[in-house]
Amino acid sequence: MTGPGDRERDDAELGAQAPSHGFRKGAFGVTGSGDTSGFGGLVRVEPGGAVALHSTDRPYGGYFDEVTDALIEAVGQATYDAAVQRVLVDRGEITYFVGREHLLALVQALRDDEALRFELCSSVSGVDYLDSGGPAVTPGRPRLHVVYHLTSMTYRRRIRLEVAITAEDPHVPSVTGFYPTADWHERETFDMFGIVFDGHPALTRILMPDDWDGHPQRKDYPLGGVPVEYHDATIPPPDTRRSYR
């Protein structure tokens, strides 16, 4: 991507205290490649970033209001307000951004309450939001997200819970006590992102070899790969190729 020299020039030119994340420099994502098109000087503001920091106001529409009301009734308004940091309804799906201290209380209510009945935990996975979020990115912010997709077979509903943690303290309580299916999902999330699920019966690597170092699906972990040699040319691995972004 951009080299250190370019980054300094970026900040100096723009006079910004904002970090270079949030600004995309150049049209082709690579410098020093003999790009004579002139597009190397292009500076674009990154779109809002993957972490949409806004939230949706009530009413949410569809069954989302019913679910939210039932959840508030099950855990109590105080716990709900403490637990749920914001709610986002986008593209027909609802996401509750939850703090990790209250995750298990919410999960228990979601699974057991008669009006909620989210019996099936479809998926537990991680997302690394390093360098995303536009110019509002601050260092030390919670970049690792654990995403829970819950399905209610009784009511045919789906919701998503999202817990954000920092890489310095990547601990989240495990939901295997409520959803045994989360066993392998959490192992995979630990393996790929380094998120430690407290209370998991056997948190070990599942896809990578057991003694592997590092967490491959974090954004600061390289893709890997070797250059492929052809008769006249060499194709570099995908993360170091010139890319048209």
């Binding site: 593209r91 099936l120 077979m153």
Partner: protein, 440 residues
């Protein structure tokens, strides 16, 4: 010490005790030399094994024939597909994702493309949706045939394997005609399909629909009434509805436990709500029920293909929006398949905009608005879910695939512990995991 001259035979001391390499005909040496006199044996099956459905490693604690503990070790086929999609454009994601569950590749593609289309806020044209249903149901039959064929082989009914694969060849021929490849087609693209059905393929599909019911009946005659087959499968790999839902198991296993949970009926996509088909269930919760459910699903898929053929109307197979639609058309020329000359003439001679669109879409790709979606579809093995996150750029930020085989394989321990070692094979075969999907 053994009396053979085999350099690999014999035993050695390790930190966990004495490890024996059993080469055959030496049980007396192995068990006789066991100083502790325990009945407990730890047996390692795989990852290289003809009956573990791919590169799957099972570590079984045995007390005689009974399995006291079954541990499943996976990850031998992990190729980093999810991470790779973050370095490619959205359209290139199809070619990666199709290689996960390699026996049902069109389902992988369809789930991914439905997720991308949901993020884009577009819908593929009607003809594209109908053809997607058509090829997906063909693929469902092919996948179930592999499941049934390998099920037969692993139980020892080898003719079941040859029969199942013979029918699958017919389907692979059809898919080769339609998509150009027998497997991993990269046919379903965001916005529609790579290309339309070629001339003559509809007749060939009808031909297949004429032949197939007889073949399914033959398969029934071969296995279903066979007493050994029934004895091997009944009560093997038992898992009831509570166990299934707790372990997140979906698909034929859940339906064999009695719950008619099929995402094509519960959360229809691609117009499935307008098709007339049943969801077969069984109430035996064991490998026998799963066998019956898969056989019945093959028949339901044949009905769906028939209906899809009826409703094929002429029309576009790619979305209209030129900023998203894959620009190139392929056609068969004198030297094989390549860019259609019509298309080349159009972009080089007739339309500057078309040339620019072609260039920008192939090099950069289209931009997808920021956000995340979770789109589940019903693959032959269960709920195949795609959690796709976009940051507004031309590349995915994160693609996580909730693969049904990955989740279903967790149930192995619950199904096998307490049973006999031969039933472990039956249980895993009835789960029908595809290691490409398990490991990604």
């Amino acid at each position: 010490m053994t009396t053979t001259s085999d350099p690999y035979a014999g035993s050695r001391e390790t930190t966990e005790g004495r490890v024996y390499t059993v080469t055959g005909g030496d049980w007396d040496v192995t068990l006789g030399a066991d100083q502790h006199g325990e009945e407990r044996l730890v047996v390692n099956m795989g990852p290289q094994h003809p009956s573990t459905h791919g590169v799957l490693r099972l570590v079984l604690d045995l007390e005689g024939e009974t399995v006291t503990k079954a541990r499943v070790v996976i990850g031998y086929l992990h190729t980093g597909i999810e991470k790779n999609t973050e370095y490619r454009t959205w359209v290139q994601g199809t070619t990666f994702v199709t290689r996960m569950d390699y026996l049902a590749p069109l389902f992988n593609e369809a789930g991914y493309c439905l997720a991308v289309e949901k993020l884009l806020g577009i819908e593929a044209p009607q003809r594209a949706q109908t053809i997607r249903v058509l090829v997906m149901e063909l693929n469902r039959i092919a996948s179930h045939l592999v499941a049934l064929a390998t099920f037969g082989m692993e139980m020892g009914a080898l003719t079941g394997m040859t029969n199942g694969f013979r029918e699958r060849e017919m389907i692979l021929d059809l898919l080769e005609e339609i998509t150009g490849l027998r497997m991993n087609h990269a046919y379903i693209r965001p916005g529609g399909l790579a290309q339309d059905l070629p001339e003559g393929s509809v007749e060939h599909i009808r031909e297949f629909l004429r032949i197939m019911p007889g073949r399914v009946a033959d398969f029934h005659r071969l296995l279903t009434g066979q007493p050994i087959w029934q004895a091997r499968l009944k009560d093997a790999g038992y898992l009831d509805v509570t166990g299934c839902v707790a372990l997140g198991v979906t698909g034929p296993i859940l339906r064999a436990a009695g719950l008619p949970w099929d995402l094509r009926k519960v959360e229809p996509y691609l117009g499935y709500e307008t098709y007339d088909f049943e969801v077969p269930t069984a109430d035996t919760c064991d490998a026998w029920g799963r066998y019956l459910v898969r056989m019945a699903e093959v028949n339901e898929s044949l009905k769906l293909i028939e209906q899809a053929l009826e409703r094929l109307e002429p029309g576009p197979v790619m979305v209209e929006d030129k900023k998203i639609a894959w620009p190139a058309q392929l056609s068969l020329g004198a030297d094989g398949m390549g860019n259609s000359l019509e298309h080349v003439k159009h972009i080089m001679g007739q339309s500057m905009e078309a040339l620019i669109h072609h260039f920008k879409l192939v090099t950069e790709g289209f931009r997808v608005p920021a956000g995340q979606v979770y789109v589940p579809i019903e693959s032959p093995r269960g709920e195949l879910g795609y959690h796709v996150v976009s940051d507004g750029s031309t590349r995915p930020w994160r693609v996580h695939v909730r693969d049904p085989s990955f989740v279903n394989l967790q149930a192995t321990a619950a199904m096998s512990e307490g049973g006999m070692i031969a039933d472990v094979i039956a249980a895993i075969a009835s789960i029908d995991p595809v290691m490409g999907g398990v490991d990604r």
